[in-house]
């Protein structure tokens, strides 16, 4: 039961202090918890990065500091090194192409869904958009294979690969644009129309700039999902390379993205060039983290300055 008596000043201070300490321990505990799991998520990458600086055949053995993995990766004469860069290029081309197309189709789709007047049509489109998200990737991949190979009698090609990746990312683009449309002030579009803009002009100069953050985050998500994908790529990627690359008299004429290349090497164990490549990727991620951290700090300082200015003015 709550006691009904007046606390002395000392007691109040003590209670406040206790509360502050418990808040502080809570804060520290939650920080430790979150960052511990974050560290766990990154630990395999850290592990590989460490063993990129030695040239033992398998990871876990340290045979002295060595830059061989990096030298091989960049020399241009090592088969695995050239294959990795070739696969990276393919991966980037696929990711950027599919993400661009997804963003175009998805943004228009989201605008269309949001402004359509028929409730049933709107609901069913949103439901269809949800299907690839909840559907198992392998079912999506198989269904595409059935469509392209058994029914349309096509070979898998660059085109089928792009379609596959678009299905993967399109729903996420729609889902990141829709909330921005909901936040938008509807009278802006009406005002533009009243001021004599055509529908297309109002859309391009009023609506699109307003939902641009959603479009950009949709693009980033689309690129990320495409970079991460394996299953759809394995089912829909073409067999032959888009162009041939020569290494030491051998021609690389199989089409490989990073995921299919890595999968191919998995049975024999990771080649050391892949370790150094992982280390570079991890470095890029670290740079992005640091960049975000600095940007965050700048934003906070800016906010503080604005607040101070307001207080002074008052």
């Amino acid at each position: 039961m709550v006691e009904n008596r007046v606390l002395s000043l000392e007691e109040t201070n003590r209670a406040l202090k206790r509360k502050a300490i418990s808040n502080k321990t809570k804060h520290i505990f939650s920080l430790v918890f979150v960052y511990f799991f974050m560290l766990l998520i990154y630990s395999p990458l850290i592990y590989i990065t460490i063993f990129a600086f030695t040239s033992a055949k398998t990871t876990g053995q340290w045979t002295g500091f060595d830059m061989k993995a990096f030298v091989n990766l960049f020399s241009g004469r090592n088969k695995d090194g050239v294959e990795i860069w070739n696969a990276t290029l393919n991966t980037m081309i696929v990711a950027l192409t599919s993400a661009t197309l997804s963003v175009l189709l998805g943004t228009l789709g989201a605008i269309g869904i949001y402004y359509s007047r028929n409730k049933l049509w709107k609901k069913s489109l949103q439901f269809i958009n949800q299907i690839p998200i909840v559907n198992a990737e392998i079912v999506t991949a198989l269904s595409l294979c059935v469509l392209f190979i058994s029914v349309a009698r096509l070979e898998t090609s660059f085109f089928t690969l792009i379609i596959g990746h678009m299905i993967l990312s399109l729903p996420y683009v729609v889902l990141s644009v829709l909330p921005k449309l909901e936040q938008m002030d509807p009278s802006l579009y009406e005002a533009a129309m009243d001021l004599g803009a055509t529908q297309r002009r109002a859309l391009l100069t009023v609506v699109i700039p307003d939902i641009l953050p959603g479009i950009l985050s949709g693009f980033m998500l689309a690129v990320t999902l495409s970079l991460d994908d394996y299953v759809i790529t394995a089912f829909t990627a073409p067999k032959d390379a888009l162009w041939e690359v020569e290494v030491g008299g051998n021609f690389l004429n199989e089409f490989k993205t990073l995921s299919t290349y890595v999968e191919g090497t998995m049975k024999l164990g990771m080649p050391i060039e892949l370790r150094s490549f992982t280390a570079i990727l991890f470095g890029v991620i670290l740079l992005v983290m640091i960049g975000m951290y600095i940007k965050n700090g700048v934003d906070i300082r800016k906010q503080k300055r604005i607040r101070k200015f307001r207080i002074r003015r008052n």
Binding site: F33, V134, N135, L142, V146, P179, R200, S217, V262
Partner: protein, 282 residues
Amino acid sequence: MATAAKKQRRFNFRGSLCMPFAVFMLLFVIFPLCLIVYFAFTDSSGHLYLDNWGKIFTDSTKWLVIGRTFLIAFLTTVFCILIAYPIAFILSNGDRRIRKNKILVYIFILPMWVNFVLRTMALRDMVNWFTSTLFNFQLTSTHPLVGVVVGMVYDYLPFAILPLYNQMIKMDKSQIEAAADLGANPVQVFIKTIIPMTIPGIISACTMTFMPTMSSYVIAYYMGNGKMSIIGTEIEAYAGSGTQGYNPASILSLVMLFIIGLSIFAEKLFDKKGETREGGIW
């Protein structure tokens, strides 16, 4: 003026913009799924053929695979929720000083820049190195089931965090405070207010981990040292054997679609306010 208004009502310019999207989804999502249903009941020449169903469902190894898939998916989902729940709670309701958006990007987006096959491979190497230096055995070859679950939890944890987080930021905090003010202890507050308010998020997180776990044959293969085949492995094996394998693969896919349908139904049952959104990370 009246004619202009009429014209506008007749033709909804902005609404019509979804047509390319609708056609694309119809052609490459709905139609292929219908094809899966069609292929499940026919043979490779297109005639009605149901023997595949009998062949698959009287095969005891297939039942073993299905049972194992459920076990792995269940364990993964439970561990994912147990770990993701406190993380999502801290990020959504914890101290304001924790930069949530930043951490979400760190957990969700950035690791995905390293392809998931490469991440799985790195995880396998690290886990095996860890257990062989400490306990003198290789996890993936001596305990393949544990290895697979570790791999799955590692890969799908972010997918459990995001829906939970999205649900928890919508949580009504005054209810929690009211429960505490009315004399509920922390455990009661948790069970009586926080859990009921986050049930849609929990279900959505379950779907987001359970479904991919059932199909992700790459993790099952490499973290289980080739011994742990799951439904996804079987589908891949059928599909890899050529076009005649598409029919039995379709049957197994249909089974998966059925389970997916059930989980969506469960989600709809609990989530009355509409679906949990995926956006808002950046």
